[in-house]
């Protein structure tokens, strides 16, 4: 019987949130690729088409949730990978806060872009 092993300590909110966001992202990332490469070819994307899609409240909310969950999942994954490599002490704290600030800036900028895309700003 294989033993359980994971890059994460199997406890706490970061472990659980990494899996909850993974379930959401599996569906939304596949949807994003299908919509913007197969339904609409990437080479034919214009701001008018983007605005039309983002004007749908359901699509807009899905994309903002996509941004937030992908940012958390990605940055939390990077943080854990670095901890796996032995990051500890002051360096760990410094990296943590750099990643937190980078995440907040990314979500803020992404939300700002989304609000421009749907014509709100």
């Amino acid at each position: 019987m294989a033993e359980h092993y994971s890059s994460f300590e199997r406890k706490g909110s970061r472990w659980l949130l990494q899996r909850v966001t993974a379930v959401f992202l599996v569906g939304v990332l596949a949807f994003h690729f299908l919509l913007l490469h197969f339904v609409n070819h990437a080479a034919e994307i214009t701001l008018a088409g983007t605005t039309a899609r983002m004007s749908s409240i359901g699509y807009f909310v899905t994309m903002v949730l996509f941004l937030v969950t992908a940012t958390f999942h990605g940055v939390n994954g990077v943080y854990n990978a670095l901890i796996n490599q032995g990051l500890d002490g002051t360096q760990k704290q410094a990296v943590k806060w750099v990643l937190v600030v980078a995440s907040v800036l990314l979500v803020a900028q992404g939300t700002r872009v989304a609000l421009h895309m749907n014509g709100f700003l």
Binding site: E3, Y5, H37, I45, L47, T50
Partner: protein, 131 residues
């Protein structure tokens, strides 16, 4: 019960012949994760051209899509994303204790399915107007 698992040093590439399927899955999942999070920041930077209006947005996206190298990079991104999704599903099942005895086979299945989806998608990704 959860317990730590000594994978040795990843940077010790000299022992790659000794890696098991689960070790390769772990390495590929890390690699594709790093690529995807890097791309996320780049993606938002490119889409930020929408703030300056349609001329810059349409010109930037159209200009990038007109480059053959960008189309190939998109195929690479698709490969990375599809593997991360499929292996991620595998990891979710393993975390739930489902299919532990077949975790090596499910890794090989992830690889094969990723290859099939990427090959089938190449005509769509490379199609359309190029410079």
């Amino acid at each position: 019960m959860s317990q730590s698992y000594n994978r040795g040093t990843v940077e010790d590439f000299g022992r790659w012949r000794d890696f098991s399927a689960g070790m390769w899955a772990w390495i590929f999942h890390k690699f594709t994760g790093w690529v995807l999070v890097g791309y996320l920041f780049t993606h938002i930077a490119v889409l930020s051209t929408a703030i300056q209006g349609k001329d810059l947005y349409n010109g930037t996206l159209g200009g990038l899509e007109a480059l053959l190298v960008v189309r190939f990079l998109e195929v690479g991104l698709l490969a990375v994303a599809v593997f991360h999704i499929l292996n991620g599903l595998r990891l979710l099942f393993v975390d739930l204790g489902v299919g532990l005895e077949a975790q090596d086979k499910s890794f090989y299945a992830s690889m094969v399915l990723t290859g099939a989806i990427v090959v089938a998608s190449i005509p769509t990704f490379l199609g359309g107007k190029l410079v």
